[in-house]
Amino acid sequence: MHAPDGFLNAGTAATTGVISAGAIGVSLRQMRSTLGDKQVPLAGVTAAFIFAAQMFNFPVAAGTTGHLLGGALAAILLGPATGAVVVTVVVVVQALAFADGGLTALGYNVLNMALVPAFGGYGMFVLLRRVLPPNATGVVVATGLAAGLSVPLSAMAFSIEWLFGAAAPVPFDTVFVAMVGVHLLIGIGEGVLSAMAVGAVLAARPDLVYGARDLTRAQAAERSRVGLRAFVIGGVLVALVFATVVSQFAAPDPDGLERVATDQGFADSAQDHALATSPFADYATQGLDNETLSLAVAGIMGVVITLLVGLGVAFTVRDRTTRRRAAESTSAGAR
């Protein structure tokens, strides 16, 4: 996910750079108004937490392990503006000090790994909380789903960037299906881990969970019984449904997936080439219809992502005062 230089062209790098810089500027102002002079030590130490948490692996299946990305988690715990700033700092330092992710890729790496998961994840979280009970379980389930979906959301963002600025002729369909598909699976781990982590924080210090600041102490302690295994299986089902629906859109021609599969294997048979998927710039073999549909999907996804991110931002701004009051009463009589 820490994309190196070269996969997206310079124009996309510059554009996403400007977008990210603007978004971070807004987030910084928001963070300052909520945290005041606590912003540097709090954001700094929690950024260290996110960085450290990303380094450690958790079991996924049969001994294989995964890693937390943490964007949605940061937003739910700290608020979307602070969460966005914190994860951005992590990503930027990783690029500069650890050579993790390209220097020109910072624009879209920050956008995809910090801004979209933090704001988009928070937007989804808020929506989900509206339909879930106002108690600990509601918060935990909302976290799980929002964090889980924030990962494929991030992959969708990358795919849309690919649509505009791919540096190589791989069709949008292919990238979209591959990226989002894989990240739906990764998202399951992210969702489960984030949910359990927020649950743990809620149990000990509910006042430290930004996304639960509206709960009373009693509500924060209230849990409905949800089996963890059931939750994981439920999550997998959601992911599968999502994947099936999405893949139908992205490859409307039923033979499309088959073709992509054979082409990505060793294409040593000359006759395959006549059926081969076209390069991005020229949909000669696939009909005009498919191109329209692909772009339509991209358009819809773009709108969805923007909507969710916008929601996240809107809720940040609206609840600014509540957060400040909460922050002031958190520290035991300090100042």
């Binding site: 700094g44 009463s329 035991a332």
Partner: protein, 275 residues
Amino acid sequence: MPTSDAATGQRARSHATRPPDARLTTPAIDVRGLRFHYPDGHEALRGIDLQVEAGERVALLGANGAGKTTLALHLNGINVPDEGSVRIGDLLVEESTFAEVRRRVGLVFQDPDDQLFMPTVGEDVAFGPANLGLRGADLDARVAEALAAVDASQLADRTPHHLSGGERRRAALATVLAMRPDVLVLDEPTSGLDPAGHRELVEVLRSLPMTQVVITHDLPFALELCERAVIIGEGRVAADRSTATALADGQLLARHRLALPYGFDPGHVAPPETA
């Protein structure tokens, strides 16, 4: 080395701080009727009265949760009293005087990692005086002075994370000394130190001339450093007498969950030289 030449060491270190004003009739610290409760409702301090003269060294003893740290945080305005007042010298501690109070009262926290937040020790020591407005050569001189006072000049370019426990303690102390405080408040300064680190710290503290308030569980340390002991119990001052007397009172100690280390007999220890 601090131990070898006590007299010159003393003189050398007094550069690091202003000697306390001898003519003071106003106490260095004057706490009256202090009451304080936490946001969750717990009443931590229930009427504290405490006066400390300039140059005195007072050990603040008591069980965990008795309110010692809470009290200490009032001395530089981090905690604000519900009732009562805190005066540092002639200055009442309140919002408008925080900046000056924080210059006069140096608080050394329990965990040195909470106080060493800059990339290098030198920058940490510079943080305080820089906030006071020092720059350039003046700032460098102040940093050098503070580091020398704790025998840590060689640590200036080191990362805090790579220091030993004792080095971290002394570096944290230096960050506070750089403000040239009149009063030094230390929270559990010897906890976690190995014996050599412990000894180094005690030597450094004994060489510093300013008023000291030391929160500690380490009773021999309290006896060695502080001539006076104040025991806090359940948010109030439970006892206020000479350290030797306090430590000789077994029942008093037991009431406040204090106990002498094995083999330690306060009656058979030479009282510390008045520094």
